[in-house]
């Protein structure tokens, strides 16, 4: 073993990504582009929520980045709103990291944009581990998924600023305890804001849009 040397690295595995994310956040701040990272399981209603929310944000210039393993289905849906859209393919990866987000933003082109919504890959595990450089993180939990998700995926609930509970119009059909979710989520993340919504019935989407406007305002004031 004499010919061997041991070099200490002692670096978090996520260290490089975190550094890249911080530099991207700084860069976006200087350009005045607010990046909103939207995460959830597949099928919880990310795309339909985004489409409905854009209707309430007509005074903003919005870009949307759709991240999926394959297909352009979501990008086609969102492009009908008039927002600038780019479809990103992760090539099998289950999440976006800061580098991929940066490339996506370059592809989208952020000139004159106020808000970029990043629809992350549908997954409650990995997207929580990789900081994308977003200004705020949101997650959507839909009623059919069940009220036990904060117990099963605590990391995701711990990094989100807001939790939208979608498909609230279907609550009668499921054993979904809204109070229990609230308690479980707040237990992990006392600051998390919870809004029950229905993208289909257009319930409370205005409240979510107001939250976005408020957050952008606060973010702009906070130099």
């Amino acid at each position: 073993m004499e010919n061997f040397r041991i070099l200490e690295i002692k670096e978090s595995v996520f260290g490089d990504n975190n550094k890249m994310a911080d530099s991207l956040r700084k860069d976006l701040k200087s350009k005045g582009v607010f990046l909103l990272n939207v995460m959830s399981s597949p099928g919880s209603g990310k795309t339909s929520t985004i489409v409905k929310t854009i209707e309430y944000l007509k005074d903003l210039n919005i870009g949307v980045m759709e991240a999926d393993i394959d297909s352009a289905v979501d990008a086609e849906t969102v492009s009908k709103t008039g927002a600038k859209v780019i479809q990103l393919h992760t090539g099998g990866m289950c999440h976006l990291d800061a580098e991929m987000t940066k490339q996506g933003l370059e592809g989208l082109g952020t000139d004159n944009l106020d808000l970029v919504i990043l629809e992350n890959v549908g997954n409650l595990v990995c997207p929580a581990e990789f900081d994308t450089g977003s200004s705020k993180n949101i997650m959507i939990l839909s009623v059919p998924e069940g009220d036990d998700k904060p117990l099963k995926y605590p990391l995701m609930f711990s990094i989100c600023d807001i939790l939208l509970i979608n498909k609230i119009d279907a609550i009668e059909n499921f054993d979904f305890d809204f109070k229990a979710v609230e308690e479980r989520a707040k237990n992990i993340n006392p600051n998390i804001k919870i809004i029950p919504i229905s993208a289909k019935k257009n319930e409370n989407i205005d409240k979510f849009a107001d939250w976005i406007k408020d957050e952008i305002k606060k973010w702009k004031e906070n130099k």
């Binding site: 041991i6 978090s12 595995v13 996520f14 999440h95 990391l155």
Partner: protein
């Protein structure tokens, strides 16, 4: 199965480190994984050969050290393992505790030739 993306991240970090330190040949990389992290060591081991394929780390060995998920009881100061004791102090029951270790996921060191 999120370990593959994570192993690719590890490779990037080590490659950057090697470049900066003029290291051309690596023998072993040593990771530290906490028992309470979201990473499963067995899956990291499975992904490793696939992820290092055709990189400078192709023939390297992987060593994993497990860091126990330990906590200290806030009322009786007993240090105990959270997993073995089901998240409760074995001496005084459900008292609150403070986490000491177990969430780590670090690249500890590399052994270079």
């Amino acid at each position: 199965m999120h370990e593959l993306g994570i192993v690719i991240e590890i490779i990037k970090t080590v490659e950057n480190f090697a470049k900066k330190n003029n290291i051309t040949k690596i023998d072993t990389i040593v990771l530290q994984i906490g028992e309470l992290s979201t990473i499963i060591p067995r899956y990291v081991e499975v992904c490793y050969p696939v992820a290092v394929d055709k990189t400078m780390m192709e023939d390297t060995k992987l060593k994993i050290e497990i860091i126990p998920g330990n906590a200290i009881c806030k009322s009786c100061n007993k240090v105990f393992n959270l997993i073995k004791n089901n998240g409760k102090c074995p001496d005084c029951g459900e008292a609150p505790w403070e986490l000491l270790s177990g969430k780590e996921f670090l690249i500890k060191e590399i052994i270079a030739c």
